[in-house]
């Protein structure tokens, strides 16, 4: 009797996307566990790594969110020339390969960096970046842009009428509008960044100053590369998933509403915009903090840029193709899952964040190896994995927009028999172009910088730009590598900008 009355899109695209995500996260873990010889549990050192991982991720994520709030608020309240460009540029650190960003950070905060030069110039003791604070600094540098972006979207999603209403009631905008919005947006932003920091290892190790700064992901690396202890690797990957599930459960208890909007170019007219100086101070501070290391990356790269070996350009082209492929795939998956909706989709939307890149790569290798030569499918697998890893971000941008279209126009479309692909083509796609463009740009840029899966699969002919950059470093050619890093940075930003822009064009 109870026929489900509304089925506007078919079941299978969302199911296929969900299946792919599950295959690449849980499936790869299972493949690793399957091959494992189970003889050891977790060691004392593993538990120390777990503790360190959680503490640094908590502090990094907390600090990123807290610092992002005033900056996002300032950006939401102020309109100035170049604001849009600044928002795009502020996103850059998030898109950088780790080693590039770390060397950029060191050029500012390191022993011979600008900050210490200034300090010693003024007669102070130099400070060391290495240690727990260095790890947190780097993670904030990477993730502050993401936090700003997500929280800014929350701010811009507050309808203008509400501000008008608050103004007429002479009510506190903070208590009435901004605090409830933050309660909805900040916890989920915290969760995303917490999970990103949870699976980081190169940052923690390089800047952590020693084995105290060991994360679970490094323990996984060691288990896979040196000990070939697949069982321990799988166990540690399970720990990461468990931490993810716990964090997600806590956050979802705190906030069930996800108030994400789409637009970013809109400055809502407001009546509470006093104290412009403070806003501009926040914007300037964030800009200096985020863009200074970035300009050091540019400066370091310029000398090597003009005599880069030609193979770098071939690698760059390959990377761009992979990036475009994984961006399209990622957006298609996000759209399919968003159209499907529901709780399972939100779970699938965070699962890739908790996946260990190394386990995903190793598991994919184990799945693929019996059938084809890994190097033959290196670029395809890289595309699939990168699309999946970028999915949480894409889904966060696309899902609320799709939900809004469905609630606004779903019944009308159903009554007109406008369902299936026609509904997607005629109504959904045109109406979610903006978040789709943003998601595509983000996925493309993240894929550009990826060095996870490709190292395990690539032969000579599948070299991507980050891999080529590492190979240059491995051959002592640090200046060339810095040049390649600059190319990588420029291409990532360009891809992001083009996609983001494409979503806005005459919409």
């Amino acid at each position: 009797m109870a026929r489900s009355p509304v089925a506007i899109t078919p079941f299978w695209p969302g199911a296929a996307a969900a299946a792919l995500v599950l295959l690449l996260t849980i499936g790869t873990l299972a493949a690793v566990a399957w091959r494992a010889k189970w003889d050891a549990g977790l060691s004392v050192a593993d538990w120390a790594a777990i503790r360190f991982t959680i503490v640094q991720a908590l502090v990094s994520a907390g600090l990123s969110v807290v610092l992002a709030i005033p900056v996002a608020r300032a950006l939401a309240r102020r309109r100035f020339a170049g604001r849009q460009m600044l928002i795009t540029l502020l996103g850059a650190p998030f898109l950088l390969p780790v080693i590039v960003a770390v060397l950029g950070l060191l050029a500012v905060f390191g022993r011979g960096g600008m900050v210490n030069n200034a300090l010693t110039g003024l007669g102070f003791e130099p400070i060391s970046i290495f240690g727990f604070h260095g790890v947190v600094l780097a993670h904030v540098f990477f993730n502050l842009p993401l936090a700003i972006r997500l929280i800014l979207q929350g701010w811009l999603a507050i309808p203008a009428e509400r501000f008008r209403l608050a103004a007429t009631l002479n009510a506190s905008v903070w208590r009435m509008l901004e605090w409830p919005m933050l309660r909805a947006v900040a916890p989920s932003t915290f969760l995303v960044i917490f999970l990103i920091c949870l699976t980081s290892f190169a940052v923690a190790l390089t800047l952590g100053g020693g084995p105290r700064a060991t994360t679970v992901e490094l323990a996984i690396y060691q288990a896979l590369r040196f000990d070939f202890d697949l069982g321990r690797a799988a166990l540690l990957a399970c720990v990461q998933f468990a931490l993810c599930v716990m964090a997600a459960a806590v956050v979802w208890r705190i906030s069930l509403v996800d108030g994400m909007g789409a637009g970013l170019d809109r400055v809502v007219q407001r009546w509470d915009t006093d104290r412009p100086v403070l806003d501009y101070i926040f914007i300037a501070a964030a800009t200096v903090f985020l863009l200074l290391p970035l300009s050091m990356v540019v400066l370091r790269g310029l000398p090597g840029l003009f005599d880069l070996p030609t193979s770098i350009w071939a690698a760059a082209l390959r990377s761009v193709i992979v990036a475009i492929g994984s961006a399209m795939l990622c957006v298609a998956m996000a759209l399919a899952l968003a159209l499907r909706g529901g709780a399972l989709v939100s779970v699938i939307g965070v699962l890739p964040l908790a996946a260990s890149g190394l386990v995903v790569g190793t598991g994919a290798f184990l799945i693929v190896f019996p059938f084809v030569r890994p190097s033959d499918v290196a670029l395809i697998v890289t595309m699939l994995v990168n699309a999946t890893l970028a999915l949480p971000f894409a889904l966060r941008a696309v899902a609320p927009a799709v939900a809004a279209v469905q609630s606004d126009f779903g019944r009308l479309a159903i009554s007109l028999n406008l369902t299936g692909w026609s509904w997607v083509r005629i109504v959904v796609l045109p109406r979610v172009r903006r978040p789709l463009g943003f998601a595509a740009g983000l996925a493309a840029a993240l894929s550009m910088g990826d060095l996870g899966v490709i190292t395990l699969f690539a032969g000579q002919a599948q070299e991507t730009l980050p891999l080529a950059m590492y190979r240059l470093m491995g051959a002592y050619r640090m200046a060339d590598a810095a040049g390649a890093a600059l190319v990588l940075l420029a291409l990532s930003l360009a891809l992001f900008w083009i996609c983001d822009r494409g979503g806005r064009a005459d919409a």
Binding site: R111, L205, G210, F226, R318, I380
Partner: protein
């Protein structure tokens, strides 16, 4: 020009194409990443061997030496590789344990400072680990002296990098049961620990540390390729731990003769003369024309240290715990 294969369809076509050319035997050599890179020995070695073998030599590059062993273990007996090239003596015990390797059967006079008797793994190059610093800076003369100084160095993590593991074995070989005390003294000299060699070396060149754990041959790169004599390797009284890089033949190879031919080629002048200025290591057999100009300037240790593969494997876990405990204080 390499043919990039972006799509399975293209890959499929490529497979058909190689099927048609199947008369040329293919020798697959699995090695670490920097060996196959444009600037590594790979391209020259490939050209030189293919001149003599009437075969297609294919390199499969994967991460560093440790990743290489992991990759081999992932693939297991079903691997397509015929030769594995690039393991070092810290890994050969584990490699031997896989049971995948066959005796190399090569008789050759190696120019190693130590005797070599391994029946399965044949060296192709070697070097000494050393701290590399800047010319003119005060250089410590021993690990102990370094530990007592306030010189700042950057090292690699022994859990993710072969030089890092080399230093661990260096301290163990030099100090045995006192190794933990040495590490405790070294702790305040270590700026940071990086996941790999590249990060550490890059940080040293950027001035983040006075010295970096690398090889005695590293200054040769700066001297020969960049005409820069400002980098020097520090000589330590305890002696220097060696890294010997080896290759082995897989028992399951479908090209046993070709594999033997390659191993013989590997210790010949044609291969060995490529090594110094591409891999920046000492060749396992000094070529007839000697070492390239510039290598004579390199620091040579008074004493060579090397644990046997079995010894190294047996001591590794305890040494790691010592290391971690000392540096986590």
């Amino acid at each position: 020009m390499k043919t990039p294969t972006y799509l399975p369809a293209v890959a499929g076509l490529a497979l058909c194409a190689t099927g048609a050319l199947a008369e040329t035997p293919v020798l697959q050599v699995m090695t670490y990443d920097s060996f196959v890179s444009e600037w590594g020995p790979g391209p020259s070695v490939e050209a030189a061997f293919e001149e003599t073998c009437a075969c297609d030599l294919q390199f499969v590059g994967t991460g560093d030496g440790a990743a290489l062993l992991a990759r081999l273990q992932l693939e297991g007996p079903r691997t397509d590789a015929d030769i594995v090239l690039g393991l070092d003596t810290n890994l050969t015990a584990a490699a031997r344990e896989t049971g995948l390797f066959a005796p190399h059967g090569v008789e050759v006079d190696l120019s190693l400072p130590i005797a070599w008797t391994d029946p399965e793994f044949l060296p192709f190059d070697w070097g000494y680990f050393a701290f590399v610093g800047n010319e003119g800076d005060a250089a410590p003369t021993s690990l102990r002296a370094l530990a007592e100084s306030d010189v700042q160095v950057v090292i690699q993590d022994p859990r993710s990098s072969t030089p890092g593991l080399g230093l661990l074995m260096w301290v163990k070989a030099a100090y045995g049961d006192e190794a933990d005390a040495v590490w405790a003294d070294l702790a305040d000299n270590i700026v940071t620990v990086t996941p790999g060699w590249s990060e550490a070396y890059g940080m040293f060149l950027d001035g983040e540390a006075d010295a970096v754990l690398s090889y005695t041959t590293s200054p040769a790169y700066h001297l020969i390729a960049e005409d820069d004599a400002s980098k020097v390797a520090w000589r330590f009284d305890e002696g220097h731990y060696m890294q010997v890089e080896v290759a082995g033949k897989l028992a399951a190879t479908d090209q046993p003769e070709l594999a033997d031919q390659f191993l013989a080629f590997m210790v010949s002048d044609a291969f060995q003369s490529i090594i110094p200025t591409t891999n920046w290591m000492y060749p396992a057999v000094t070529p007839a024309e000697g070492l390239p100009e510039g290598f004579e300037t390199l620091m040579t240790p008074e004493k060579s240290l090397l644990l046997s593969p079995e010894d190294a494997a047996a001591k590794r876990d305890a040494a790691l715990d010592e290391w971690r405990a000392a540096l986590s204080q």
